[in-house]
């Protein structure tokens, strides 16, 4: 690797299995509304498991693989340092606390479901969550604004799924390869 020299500059430390579990547990506990910025802070700046370049490379790879980016990143970092046990420790650490919290929230919701105030509050919460999702879609779409081919392929996914309520997997299996081939031939 050509980058080996640059990487050597800021000293990094290899975490053990328990360090991985603890680090990702903290991320899961504190990552409200998005874990990624916090993850970089912890992995690169605080605990120095990876250099900035290594982090960006690894994240790029994780985005291209199926699964949640941060989920994949935990597996990637775990595997890199401690093989399969490391991957399991990082992944379980990441999802354990949020899972427990979300189940408790769910139980609270079920318990107070008949209380109109609570129902109204959750309706407001749901509406706000929908707004966050719209905003995320807008931000992701922004770089594609002046790229007609990309817009066509985005719509080719959106319309069947939303308007015609077709299943996702066949839609993806048809649209994704065409998009990849066209992008390879003509650019995005």
């Amino acid at each position: 690797m050509a980058m080996q020299d640059e990487m050597a500059a800021p000293a990094t430390t290899a975490p053990g299995v328990f360090d991985l579990f603890r680090g990702f547990l903290m991320l899961g506990l504190t990552g409200f509304g998005g874990v990624l910025p916090l993850a970089r802070h912890m992995i690169v700046e605080e605990r120095r498991w990876l250099t900035p370049i290594e982090f960006t490379e690894l994240l790029g790879l994780c985005q291209f693989l199926p699964g949640g980016n941060i989920i994949n990143l935990s597996v990637a970092i775990g595997t890199r340092f401690r093989g399969v046990p490391g991957a399991v420790a990082a992944l379980v650490g990441l999802i354990a606390a949020p899972t427990a919290i979300v189940i408790v929230l769910g139980e609270i919701y079920v318990r107070f479901q008949s209380d109109t105030r609570v129902v109204h509050m959750f309706a407001g919460l749901a509406a706000a969550a929908a707004g966050l999702l719209i905003s995320m879609a807008l931000q992701m779409a922004q770089p594609l604004w002046r790229k007609p081919r990309a817009i066509v392929f985005a719509c080719a996914c959106f319309v069947p799924v939303v308007v015609f309520q077709l299943p996702l997997v066949p839609t993806l299996l048809i649209v994704a390869p065409i998009s990849i081939l066209v992008t390879k031939r003509f650019g995005i």
Partner: protein
Amino acid sequence: MNANLIALAMIFAQLSLVAFGGGNTTLPEMHRQAVEVYHWTTDAEFAALFALARAAPGPNLMIVPLIGWHVAGVLGMLVAVAGMFGPSSIVTAVALRLWGRFEHQVWRQAVQTGLIPISVGLVAASAALITQASDHAWVLAIVTAIVAIAATKTRLHPLWLLAVGAAIGWTGLGQ
């Protein structure tokens, strides 16, 4: 009960392997399966579960354990979580092992770029479906619009926006 567990495992394992561009791209299919195919939740319940998942810290797919729990308790939760995070994690671990050996830059770049519009289209689809399911009153539509604009135009923490939405909802105004 058993049939439900098998269905949970099948659905989430499938979604796990096609979740390109992050977990949110799988929401439309999760919604279709849970609401229309299996009738595990109503449209409004699904929106509430999604909101709960957004209010909790951690990765953005925390609706998965909630659906599992809702369908079949602790076992359902474990099956759903293993189904959703297992297969993609195995793919990730194996792919990273192989990466050193197969470094075809051209091919990799084409796949990566070609998948961008797909993931944008699917996140937009998720947004449309969740908005449809959530906004059954004009106040809620306004909350969605305000949050969408504020989250796009400002650097406010999403948690504040969720709190504002919950507070406006709490008043019961217009609902």
